[in-house]
Symmetry: C2
Subunit: 316 residues, 2 copies
């Protein structure tokens, strides 16, 4: 099975049919139509075996996740997903592996109306790079830089699930289905990004942990934040893990949540239930933007929690 | 030096300044403006250490080449380069290496008016994935599928140089400056792609060797071809290597030429010198498209040469 055959068999026709693809997988380039009044949003992410995923992980789950983390970046700027490209490096031409990977990737691509328009398959250590392309109405994109003092800080879904699942996996402990799914098949909050476009003052997706990612928003916006720990949206398992040692690092600093963290003007607080319904996920207010700099995590009794670390950094 | 610092220090602001970049490196996504009347061309390519380049190669040359091979794909559809994203996996945070890589990448990016709009730096085995974005006037893109019987087959520049340089390198033999530059710093034929838009019936860039790549054009166009070996444009060193053993595989089947191979209606033959002047590179007619299927390489005496292989394939 040659490189060309592998691409043709598994990566051609993957995802949704779209009438804005003028040249598809198989030519030198894809050629794509961006409609008037829309800007192109582009994000790229690499997953490396042994760093971002366990080398023996389910390839279908990996295919899903490789696309999901990129759609999550699109959601953070309020873009609607449209097209993706995939560069995959494999130690050998394992067709069953690639077929399963393509199945997982294709499932999410079909669900989110994304077309795979380009693929490169090479021999080498297992790594997966996906680039996702989305469309966002001109002048309506979400940014990291718009948070202002008194804005509410909100997050979607629940945080810390993927971190707890990974902790169990690495310890060789059983992982329940909910946590495993949250680690392996995260749901990019695409619909939420779209409904936040004209309301949120800033947004970011949570890939490196709440503290690190909210820190990027504060740096870009020139603000401080106060996060109220007891308001963090936690699944029972995560809440129990936090309670066991009084250690909040799991929801604050473990990565791979792929929830959105965004800021809302206080006057828009009443719209949260409507936004949650439109986005199809819970939304929780966890704190407030303040003037100054820095990020304080406070307990219900007002005491400040000083965590052990600041999120996942590949080279620290 | 953290991942964020590495990205900020070396990958921010790389390449040309462009007024069509609405969000740059550093946000979740880049946001880019595609003007009316233009389509978006997208190509992606991965280079893996030990497969596509020697692990101890000059990082500045690698930076140049990683972008060049992608701009070559854009040239093949007639697109003008605009933006690029870069996903780089490094065994460790070697700042000097990354700085040199960025310098080589940035040199070509500045020369071709390309802006680096997104970067992901991760820890892992050395691989480099670049995605290049270009713009092509609607309805004027070049394709692989338009070649017709009696069309002339043409190539730019010279072929086999990179293959010969690599052969010398792998044998531990000296490599002259011309050949080394052709291997390490290929010139993407961007200007040629643009002038071919309304003339060529098909085009492809030569990355896997003339026989393999012209084969893709024939398959997509449903035609056959006759290539006249003595007309192939060869540097003296390559011509000497061919003459030594009477083996044409070097110019026919070694990869990494990054020249364009295109087909022209016979009536446009007289325009080749004008096109060559506009594109700034030699253009040579090497054969003719015929009805049927298959690809014949004929010597000046009319005898057919049957080569030992069919181009570079990562998994064969």
């Amino acid at each position: 099975m040659s490189e060309f055959d592998l691409i043709r068999r598994h990566l051609t026709g993957l995802g949704a049919g779209r009438d804005d693809v003028l040249l598809d997988v198989g030519d030198d380039c894809a050629v794509l139509h961006v409609p008037a009044g829309r800007e192109l949003a582009v994000g790229i992410d690499t997953l490396v075996a042994g760093v971002h995923f366990l080398p023996d992980c389910d390839p279908a789950a990996l295919g899903w996740k490789a696309l999901a983390v990129n759609l999550s970046d699109l959601a953070a700027v309020g873009a609607e997903p449209a097209w993706a490209t995939l560069a995959i490096t494999l130690p050998d031409a394992d067709e069953a592996w690639l077929a399963a990977f393509a199945r997982g990737f294709g499932e999410l691509a079909a669900a989110e109306d994304v077309r795979l328009v380009g693929g490169d398959v090479t021999r080498g250590p297992l790594t997966v790079t996906v680039q996702a392309h989305g469309l966002v109405p001109s002048e309506h994109m979400l940014r990291r830089s718009g948070a202002r003092p008194s804005d509410l800080i909100c997050v979607s879904g629940a945080i810390g699930d993927a971190g707890l699942a990974l902790k169990h996996l690495l310890a060789g402990e059983p992982v329940d289905d909910y946590l495993r799914r949250r680690l392996e098949r995260p749901t990019p909050r695409v619909a939420l990004g779209e409904v936040l476009r004209d309301l949120a003052t800033s947004a970011i997706d949570l890939s490196d942990g709440l503290l690190a990612d909210l820190g990027h928003v504060l740096a870009a916006s020139g603000c401080a934040a106060r996060v109220e720990l007891e308001r963090l949206p936690l699944a029972d398992q995560v809440a129990a893990a936090v309670a066991e040692h009084g250690d909040w690092s799991l929801p604050l600093s473990s990565g791979d949540d792929y929830e959105l963290c965004f800021t809302l003007p206080r006057t828009a607080a009443g719209q949260l239930p409507v936004l949650a319904a439109a986005a199809g996920c819970p939304l929780t207010t966890i704190g407030e933007i303040e003037a100054g700099s820095g990020l304080r995590c406070v307990r219900a009794d007002g005491s400040v929690w000083t965590g052990p670390d600041q999120g996942y950094d590949h080279f620290s």
